[in-house]
Structures are given as structure tokens and as C-alpha cells.
Symmetry: C2
Subunit: 213 residues, 2 copies
């Protein structure tokens, strides 16, 4: 989730039905995020979520069935927000802003985003949910590349996804997999590295530039 | 673990004591890797490991205590091999070879490396073990950068770690976090991207190039 900051910890989804059903869902998913942030996957139970949300246990069991169901719905809700990447006026600025948001989300206390990523290694539903959410986030971020193409910063045949992955992967690699302490310079540095590589033609799709003739 | 191919699935460590103790350890760790590859973390038990290894349960319980102890020792053993990155004669070739090894390891069946990474989100001992192993692997890979500096492919003040992370992160990001299907072109592409960025000065440490004056 590039800039998953607002995502899993997001306010109740907008396009969902309001009223009592929507309110209960919002309370329950807030409780799931809070429990996960405080206790991690191993401490996540339907009973604790129901108690924290102030919702009948039976409702939680009936509607979400198990921890996997709760996690799937947290990811589903995270994709329902209207998050868009920042428009800073430059490719490097946009990518750096994205990385700063992600770094903030990954290092936030309680560690809700980190716990959701960890949960995706525990539960098949969470794994599906996180996969869809990443896909949605990277798709939304493609506008960063199309804006840069319009400004003439990038050639038209730039592979947006490859560029976005190159710009964002080092941050996740270090914080989630290598588990090194956050490097405050990395969000900007990784953005700059991707821009330098892009300027050198790293993400130009074949047919190279002029596809005619 | 860049090119963790040989690592966790490695032959018994070289610098360990031989004899009966060493043999038992090798059998037990082989069994841990096999159980993990076949059943994942949830299926990993000391009893199953003891049975598979043909070693007394009491020995396994006494020496490794619990699943965390077994996993910690698997990572410890993985760091005891004499793995070195390939020397292909060029920076891009070396980085591509590293990525190909990692891609092969991450997509191998049974998925031992993937299961070890997943286990690092479950067990504190495994998290420590994987952190040390990554550190060791990246340290060994720094020779790739120093060779390239000697050949004149890179300026002397290149930050080896940053370059190595940039070259290897996209592959882990896609396979481990985004969980997209393996892209056969990615190992070479990510290597080429890092080389282009490096040629554009992305990894030059300050003082920029000439540190005199």
C-alpha cells in the first residue's frame, strides 16, 4: 500500500450504506484495527473486537464469522476511501510525498499498517485483501506518471507500474523485510533514484520512443 | 536474503563441529526446512521435526526448546555457508545473477525460503534470525560494488548498500509483499535500472566525487 497511511486506519468508508448497519461495521472495523495495533494478530479475537466495538458478539460472529472475515473486511474498507497521491508539481516531489506517507504509516504507533501486513502472512483472507489493496493503490498512483508525461518529464511510453515499484520498493524492503530502523533520508532518496533511472530510459516500454517507423 | 537460494535450504554448515552433535543438528535442521516447506509455520512442531529427522524427541526439546529455537538455528546455520555472489565480469551481470538466484529461491517448490520469511512475521526468534541473515547477505554482496568500482564502472564513493537495495528490492516487493506472479524479466530489469541510476550518480555518497579541494 503505497501511502497506506489513511488506508487501513481510515474513517468509515464513504460509498457504504449509512444507517445502523454502516455504523456497526465502522465500529467493528475500528475495533479490529485498534486490537491489531495493540495486540497484533495473535491477540485478535472476535470477542475482544465485539467488546471493544460495543456490539453484540452474536452480530460479529454472524456477519464476519472469524478473524479472517474481519481482516478481509478491513482491507475491503481500506479500498473504499478516496485517497489520491499528492500532486506536488514534479515527478520527484510526488514520489517522495508517496514514500513519506508510506514511511509514516509503517512507523506509526500503534503499528496498524505493519500489523496488517504481518497478518497477510497468517490468513488467506488477509493475503487476498492485501493483494487487492496494493493493486488498487498502485493503480491510483499511476496518475503520478501520467502527470509527469504531460509535463514532459517522462517519455510517453513509460511503464508506470515499473517506475512506481522502483520508487517505493526500497522503503518497504527496508522497513518490512530487512527490518532496519527507518532512514529519514530514504523517502527522498528512493524517489530521486527512480527519477534518475527514468531519465536514463529505464522504464521506457518497447517500442522504444517513436513507435512509428 | 539476496540469493537466499542456497541459504536456508543449504547443506549442513561447514564451520560447525562435525561428529554426532553436528550430524544431529544437520538432520534436525533439514527436517525443519522440509516441514516448513511442506506445511508452513502452522504445521511445524517439535514432534514432527524429531520424527522426520529420526532423532529422539527429548533431544530436540532439550536442545532447541521450541519452534522459535528451531527457526533461530535454521537462520544461524544459513549464515554459516560460504555463499558468495557470482562474479560475471560486469555490475549489471552480477546484480542480475543475484536477482535470478533470489527469484529462483522465492519461487522454489517446496517454498522453503518464502516460508522462512513468513515465519519471521510469527516468531521473534525468526525475526531476529532473518534480520541477521539479510545483513550478512548484503554485506557479502558489497563485493559486487567494490569490483565495479575497481573496473571503473562506478565512482569510488558509491554507497554499496543503497545500490544493492535498489537493485534487489523490487523483486522481493513484488513476490513477497505484492504477491504478484513472478515476472521472468524482472531480475534483469531491476539490475539494469539500478545500473542506470548508479551511472546517473544516484548512489554517490557526499562528498560528491572529488573529495579533495
Amino acid at each position: 500500500m503505497p501511502s497506506a497511511q489513511g488506508d487501513p486506519a481510515a474513517p468509515p468508508p464513504r460509498r457504504r450504506p449509512g444507517g445502523r448497519t454502516g455504523r456497526i461495521r465502522a465500529q467493528v472495523l475500528d475495533a479490529v484495527r485498534a486490537e491489531l495495533g495493540e495486540r497484533g494478530y495473535d491477540g485478535l479475537t472476535l470477542d475482544a473486537v465485539a467488546a471493544r466495538a460495543g456490539v453484540h458478539r452474536a452480530t460479529v460472529y454472524r456477519r464476519w464469522r472469524d478473524v479472517g472475515g474481519l481482516l478481509a473486511d478491513v482491507f475491503e474498507a481500506a479500498g473504499d476511501d478516496d485517497w489520491q497521491p499528492q500532486d506536488t508539481g514534479s515527478l520527484q516531489g510526488d514520489l517522495a510525498a508517496l514514500n513519506h506517507e508510506s514511511q509514516a504509516a509503517l512507523t506509526a504507533r500503534p503499528p496498524i499498517v505493519a500489523a496488517l501486513i504481518a497478518a497477510s502472512f497468517r490468513s488467506e483472507e488477509a493475503a487476498c485483501g492485501v493483494r487487492r489493496l496494493w493493486e488498487d493503490r498502485y493503480a491510483r498512483c499511476e496518475v503520478i506518471v501520467s502527470r509527469a508525461v504531460r509535463r514532459g518529464e517522462l517519455p510517453p511510453h513509460t511503464d508506470a507500474r515499473q517506475l512506481l515499484i522502483a520508487a517505493t520498493a526500497p522503503l518497504y524492503h527496508q522497513l518490512v523485510l530487512l527490518r532496519t530502523p527507518p532512514d529519514p533520508g530514504l523517502p527522498d532518496h528512493a524517489a530521486r533514484t527512480a527519477v534518475l533511472a527514468a531519465s536514463a530510459g529505464a522504464f521506457v516500454r518497447s517500442p522504444p520512443v517513436g513507435d512509428g517507423a
